[in-house]
């Protein structure tokens, strides 16, 4: 409280008509006393309002802290859930971790399918090579068949000559020789046809083989390209995940710092409670002074309550120090469990 006010109160006490020692007349002293009492009342009201305003402000700040803390918690929870690090969302397809797993799985499936297609193509080439080989063997077999047919044709020709030499006895033999010659002609015709078919088959096999080889070559290139792209995509995804995980860790650390800062602020804001209590004690003492002055001036009859009314019982160390009432104190923030 300002010094001038203390001086004013002392002056009032000196001018009180009830003690008869005032320099002025009782009317002047009464008026002065009334003014000072009124001023004391206003001062008390000012202090009460100030205390209330400080408390309202602190309550507002606390509300803000609660909002900040809640939002920080929600943000970290969302980020944790998105990255799938909360132990609950690992299988959640919405989480980033889940997305990476899904993408990785899909890419690996595509790669495997491509590799499988290449393998099928390779096996088809092998089979076509076997078909080509078989066609060649058919051609070789047909060549041998042609040689047999030639031998048969020569045999039939010689048989007819021998039948002619035998005359009437060889007539039956000549018929057989003619039939053998006719069968040989038919056999050559069939062999030639099969030979053409084998040739066509081989040509088709070689052409298909070439196509398959070309496709297989391109498939190998595609598989390699696909493998490289998949590797790159997975690296990018992992890198993005690592960056986001680092960001999350940063956010978590920031959240912890924020909690510490809010804790410090909460501790700091408790000054308001101490100030409010001290102001309340001062206001109470001002009221006591007013009452005593009124009694002293004879404006109020001293009742039993007023006579017993004392000054505030100070509850804080600082107050007691100002009042010169030093006693054993616990320090602020001390905790003692009994």
């Amino acid at each position: 409280m300002p010094e001038t006010h203390h001086g004013g109160l002392s002056e009032i006490a000196g001018e009180s008509p009830s003690n008869g020692s005032g320099p002025g007349g009782s009317t002047g002293a009464d008026e002065a006393l009334a003014q000072y009492l009124s001023q004391l009342g206003r001062m008390g009201e000012q202090l009460r309002q100030t205390s209330k305003q400080i408390e309202d402000s602190v309550v507002g700040v606390c509300d803000s802290f609660q909002g900040i803390a809640a939002r920080a918690r929600a943000t970290v929870a969302r980020a944790t859930g998105f990255l799938g690090n909360d132990g609950q969302s690992a299988s959640d397809r919405q989480s980033f971790e889940g997305l990476i797993e899904t993408c990785s799985g899909t890419l690996v499936k595509i790669l495997n399918t491509t590799v499988e297609a290449g393998e099928i193509s390779r096996r088809a080439i092998e089979r076509m090579e076997e078909i080509d080989k078989a066609s060649q063997q058919i051609s070789d077999a047909l060549g041998q068949l042609d040689q047999i047919t030639n031998s048969n044709r020569m045999l039939a020709f010689n048989a007819r000559i021998e039948a002619a030499h035998a005359g009437a006895a060889g007539t039956g033999f000549a018929v057989v020789a003619v039939e053998l010659a006719a069968a040989t002609v038919k056999s050559r015709s069939v062999t030639a046809h099969v030979g053409e078919l084998a040739l066509n088959l081989r040509s088709l096999a070689l052409s298909t083989l070439q196509d398959l080889r070309n496709m297989n070559e391109k498939d190998s290139e595609r598989v390699e390209q696909c493998r490289m792209e998949v590797d790159e995509s997975l690296r990018d995804l992992q890198s993005a995940h690592s960056e986001m995980a680092a960001m999350l860790n940063g956010m978590t650390s920031e959240g912890a710092l924020l909690a510490t800062d809010i804790g410090s602020a909460v501790r700091g804001l408790q000054f308001q409670d101490r100030i409010s209590q001290r102001i309340a004690h001062v206001v109470s003492d001002l009221d006591t002074i007013c009452t005593r002055l009124k009694i002293h001036a004879g404006h109020v009859a001293p009742g039993p309550a007023a006579a017993d009314e004392g000054f505030s019982a100070y509850t804080m160390q600082e107050e007691r120090e100002v009042a010169g009432l030093g006693e054993d104190e616990a320090s602020a923030g001390d905790v003692e469990l009994f």
């Binding site: 408390e55 700091g268 509850t315 006693e327 104190e329 616990a330 602020a332 923030g333 003692e336 469990l337």
Partner: protein
Amino acid sequence: MKKVLIVDDSVSMRQMVGFTLREGGFEVIEAEHGQDALDKLQGAPVDLVITDLNMPVMDGITLIQNLRSQPAMKTKPILMLTTEGLVGKKELGKAAGATGWIVKPFDPEKLLQTVAKVLP
């Protein structure tokens, strides 16, 4: 979730203690003086009471004496959280049945540690 009753005539103190405890995972109910606390405890048991000392209507010491006379609150922890630092006052609180004494301003982390210690 453990339930804590905070008794303090200061709105801001109730809010700061409440904020700290809610952040620590506790459910909090508030009362502005001893009588209000007794009223709110009717049919609504709590696991812990944290009370101020100097309050209007009913002070903290009287509140503790009242609570200790109730079977449901006989063994429940009661912490005093006050600006009052006098050793004599602390002894009064202890005699009334308080479990512990914390001098304001409190450190939020320390308060949570203390609460964790006294809760079964």
